[in-house]
Subunit: 452 residues, 2 copies
């Protein structure tokens, strides 16, 4: 287990705090929390008709597949009433909260009216509501447990202003299988969580939150219900807060999704104070530009703090009206636009995903069978350079740069997401146009051929 991530679980290294009257160290540190591999990517010439040799974007978790549905939907007229001019309830307009709650109940297959409207807080993006949720649950310096690999920007969202500490939860050692491409090896279980818990205590930091990405980014799968159930039970016993980030809940195209809200619901007692949920429209609707996020909790101690802190990240009233209109729209014939949209989206996701995995199969490149999200988790470790003087991190970086510069493929390197082993990459299959995606597959073939 002597991999970089497990050797050094506390990755937020202390940066040298230069005394300066011009700026704060915490402001400068915030910038350093952003993934450094992005800096490599910024200078790369991108593909365009003028730069046919430019790099293709397979790294950003966005979907370009939905414009034909979204642009007309966004351009439908919305009537703006006078009351939209003024200060709104910080957590969202009452009617929009109801619309969102109804949408979420449908999405997660909860009972209608299961969600308490007064416990739903709508803010400007998943990152914004997640930060506030964590702020109300944990003090600065306390730890958030994050199973690896994980969405790299969590480090920014949790550390930059909320001052939390991230404790990666490594999982490989706690499963009998050693197959890197068996999804099970990535599942957090009681033993893995206990070990992470102990590491926090050794660092004099109180473990306070377990943050699950479910469906999982970057793995492209959902956790099986038994895994989520085990996490819920562990959290309740340890009095740790479980936050289920279900931002891809509407992008599950290859299995049936079971939300943590379903699994945690004990009917008579509800979710209880230790299970929380966040979501946004940025992935399932690709509407990242609209900044519509949601947090739900039945922990009554934090509802008022959450609502008040939300004043610092409110959603524009007109965006609330607009989103309400989109979510409630009916097609000719009366079908819900959202249902038709989701069906179409699932079919397009499945198609792109299948195109990508067909190429991987062709070259026997291992991957986790994708069922959710906009990406596939690919094992390119066999292509790592064998230079024995390189660290695993340097090996992966070399392969990453080779993919970018020699093959024009921009993927997300696994170690940037604290994966336990080098050589794994997240490949987003939705951020390219049809033409670009076809070219990506062609380049991937070239890579595999030349490297084998």
């Amino acid at each position: 287990m002597a991999t970089p991530a497990s050797r050094n679980p506390s990755f937020v290294t202390a940066t040298k705090r230069l005394a300066s009257s011009l700026s704060s160290a915490r402001g400068r540190d915030a910038v350093r929390l952003l993934p450094s591999y992005l800096a490599d990517a910024r200078s790369v010439v991108r593909y365009s008709p003028e730069h046919p040799q430019g790099a293709l974007q397979l790294g950003v978790a966005e979907s370009l597949l939905l414009e034909d549905w979204l642009v007309p939907a966004l351009n439908r007229p919305v009537s703006i009433p006078a009351n939209a001019i003024y200060y709104q309830p910080t957590q969202g307009r009452a009617d929009f909260i109801d619309t969102m709650a109804t949408y979420i109940e449908d999405l997660l297959q909860l009972q209608p009216l299961r969600l308490k409207r007064e416990n739903l807080v709508l803010g400007a993006g998943c990152n914004a509501v997640l930060e506030n949720l964590c702020f109300t649950l944990a003090e600065a310096g306390e730890s958030v447990l994050l199973p690896t690999p994980y969405y790299a920007a969590f480090e920014f969202d949790l550390v930059a202003r909320a001052g939390l500490r991230v404790e990666p939860v490594t999982t490989h050692a706690y499963h009998p299988t050693k197959q890197q491409n068996d999804a099970q090896i990535y599942f957090p279980n009681t033993a893995a969580l206990n070990a992470a818990y102990e590491r926090c205590l050794q660092q004099q930091s109180t473990p306070k939150i377990l943050l699950l990405s479910h469906p999982h980014n970057p793995l492209g799968i959902c956790y099986p219900p038994s895994v989520v159930q085990e996490c819920i039970q562990w959290c309740r016993e340890r009095q740790i807060h479980l936050i289920s980030d279900e931002i891809y809940a509407g992008s599950v195209y290859g299995e049936t999704f079971v939300s943590a809200l379903q699994l945690a619901d004990r009917h008579d007692q509800g979710l209880g104070p230790y299970v929380h949920w966040v979501y946004a429209l940025s992935k399932d609707f690709a509407l990242s530009g609209l900044r519509v996020g949601a947090a739900y909790t039945e922990n009554e101690e934090i509802v008022l703090p959450l609502q008040k802190l939300n004043d610092l990240c409110c959603i524009s009233s007109t965006t609330q009206l607009w989103t309400k209109m989109i979510l409630e729209h009916e097609m000719e014939g009366g079908e819900s636009w959202v249902h038709a949209f989701r069906r179409m989206n699932h079919s397009r996701l499945a198609q792109r995903s299948a195109q990508l995995t067909a190429v991987l199969d062709e070259f026997r490149i291992p991957y986790l069978t994708p069922t959710a999200g906009l990406f596939v988790w690919i094992d390119l470790s066999r292509y790592l350079p064998s230079d024995s003087h390189l660290t695993p991190s340097e090996q992966e970086r070399k392969l990453y740069l080779e993919l970018v510069h020699t093959y024009g493929l921009l993927l997300t390197p696994g170690l940037s997401m604290k994966n336990e082993q080098p050589g794994f990459f997240r490949c987003v299959f939705t951020a390219a146009t049809e033409e670009e995606f076809a070219l990506s597959l062609q380049r991937l073939r070239t890579f595999a051929k030349e490297k084998s």
Copy 2:
């Protein structure tokens, strides 16, 4: 000077931090930072046709005077391009930044293209960009100097998440006049700032920021250029950051406004690293529901941190497009809609203001001659109860509750804004309809008659 504010400048009292696994102390503390007099107001029955005896709203700094212009403007069609769907530059869309910069240059009478576009950051409200600006300038525990009286919600914005300490800058002792209704007595000068600076050091807190509200909330006036100039000079000498909050810059109806950006500009050297500026559309356009705030700095060390932190409070892309359309709209005949709107707004503000001060004059109630903002700063200290066993704070609260319960008038009590003397109130003259405003004046007359 033995007034509550000066006796106890460090108003953020330590709250008892109960150990709880259910929520964080900092989340619970955030709620306590909200002004407590609002809790009194919440339970009060408000005026409505069904409750003609209900209390009239003269406390919230909103303007209802502009709906006839704003509702049609908000309902003009906006074309949403496909690129609005996706993640935007965190600081705002390039074309919207340019529109806002042009608008600000016009508003503040700066040279066209004076503002560096890359130094302007647009976020979801003045509170959101102010918090981030302070975060990039000062560490947790460092102090923000705030001349008294001040907008009470600054305490929430600066303390709740950014963890700053607020040091009220009392001013009365540092002026020869002792006339409470001579505006001069409220002006921060070098002696007042030096004293506040020393108080911070005594509290082991580094003074780092001076935050000016200019035009001033709650005083309803602009600081004279010489006062702002003295503050700028003091800040530069002390290496303290001056932030000029000019959210009412477009609501100056009784004098000529001179922005800190004009006064601080040293042409060849620009603003330098110690002068910063915040603004929003919430007051001058009454568009508080749209959450459009702006921060400007020429301190290059904080530009990137500000842009990155802004990811946690981005403005919806559609709101950016909408606002751009409104700011660039031309009337029939080619006049700028913004210019016509501002002229109309100034005339309505002047009219309401004159109606209110006429009643005050009638009863010889002292006030600061208002020239800016949505309110008048009124001296009702002669009506304070004379019970000698009451503290000044209890006296003011008694008068406040009498105004609410006996006379149906909801004003903002001065001590909630850390005024140095009890008995002063901010009276907002724009948050009532025509009918309600007429009734407010009538009730104010009744109050003055019965109390004299």
